[in-house]
Symmetry: C2
């Protein structure tokens, strides 16, 4: 691998697996900006949340991965997106990366889906260590044309490299499913309040034992016009700063009024 | 199952699995407070984060689970903690629970460990749906005596049932590893800033192929005296309000100053 310190080192991961179209588009979009190392799951790992592998060993296998400039340094990892980034930062990169990017995810990671997202979890691992990181998602399920989202990803990365990074965050970027020249621009957003209302489908196996498939309806409870959902629904690229401090600070005062220490 | 509407309905889950000592202690501590339904993973599910099962069906098997009052309504679920709560709320409970509790986890869920925690993810699923929920963790790894933590859990639940619940949160409760009568009381805390510094152990398999075990050092970067880590280290029960809005609001303004829309 070229180790040219004038160029930023960019570590790329995802949750759809190393063979997904989205990670190929992301690597192609960033290949001329920096030196690339790819560490992505061998298998598709959607909706794994922030899982890490503690009970089994993890392997990293060099992987043939071609970018526009030729063969890129790439590893297929037998683990989750968080495992990929943890292992890469400790064992697979030649120096501390300037940037960690994850995606391009096949499908949106807006609203509460952020907490289920393997794509976001890879970026979170970098953010915890103070490395700028970005999760990219293209708001179309399945395969799809990543041309526009690749161009957006490149522009977002250029912005990040040009500006001072706010400490302790990652950027969660959702790209609408419209042609590049119809995108209105970038909107800085907050995570929309929304939820899944589950209705498991119940079936019977050939032995008459029940089993359940997760399904449900996504319900947007948020009428704000500065949310991630609103932005992508209205033709904007949504950029949400995300952190890993889950404290609900606004609730601390109310809880302090409770009569805790008479009882516990 | 008794369906006495004068008594609260309490759904119990965990991530250590339905046979863990911690969930038995939690059920025993709460059995006389309310009607209990247990839905917990068939297998141990630590560090699964907020994973959900989308590619496979989920099963729920009635499980013999004895509490102080006799046989409790219990199901072993072939999935993650989040799956357990989603499935239970849709298919296994006789009415909407008044409270969802998760644990008692074998080991702490303080600081950044919250994002890896299956115990917390079960409580988060309830919080998203607006149901009061509590994640309990006993700050001792492995087996251990859950007598003190069971008593604390009961007192915390009594407080929750006596007070008005702040919307949109869960309580992440960490109980120090000291005898009950040495616990100083309850402290309302924030999540400490800390991180794991990974050092994967590299080994060779019998075929000389490398594999890696996740290991590392936990580093507390936070000198505050109102954090979850400080509380349990100083003999207090730590109660942190946790939410699922991951927006880093303080970073939004800085990002809005960037020159986004000249480029994207």
């Amino acid at each position: 691998m070229a180790d040219n310190r004038d160029r930023p080192l960019i570590l790329i991961s995802n949750d759809d697996g190393i063979e997904a179209a989205g990670i190929l588009s992301l690597a192609a979009a960033l290949d001329s900006i920096g030196d690339i190392v790819i560490a992505a799951p061998l298998q598709e790992m959607s909706a794994v949340g922030h899982a890490i592998t503690m009970r089994d060993p993890v392997r990293a296998r060099p992987w043939p991965f071609r970018g526009p400039s030729g063969q890129l340094t790439a590893y297929a990892v037998s683990g989750t997106p968080a495992d990929c980034v943890k292992l890469a930062l400790d064992k697979l990169v030649p120096r501390r990366p300037d940037l960690v990017v994850s995606g391009i995810n096949h499908g949106p990671n807006t609203a509460v889906n952020v907490i289920y997202s393997g794509t976001v979890s890879a970026a979170t691992e970098a953010a915890i260590l103070g490395i700028p990181s970005i999760a990219f998602s293209y708001c179309k399920w399945g395969s799809g044309d990543f041309e526009a989202s690749g161009r957006v990803a490149r522009q977002v990365v250029e912005q990040v490299l040009d500006n001072e990074w706010p400490a302790g965050i990652l950027l969660n970027v959702n790209i609408p499913d419209i042609p590049f020249d119809q995108i209105k621009g970038v909107m800085i957003t907050r995570q929309a309040q929304a939820r899944w209302e589950e209705q498991f489908a119940e079936r019977l196996d050939p032995f008459d034992r029940p089993y359940y498939w997760l399904s449900g309806t996504f319900v947007n409870l948020d009428s704000g016009t500065n949310t991630d959902l609103w932005a992508v629904d209205n033709g904007w690229v949504s950029v949400t700063p995300v952190h890993h401090d889950l404290t609900a600070y606004r609730a601390m005062e109310a809880l302090q009024q409770w009569n805790w220490n008479d009882k516990a």
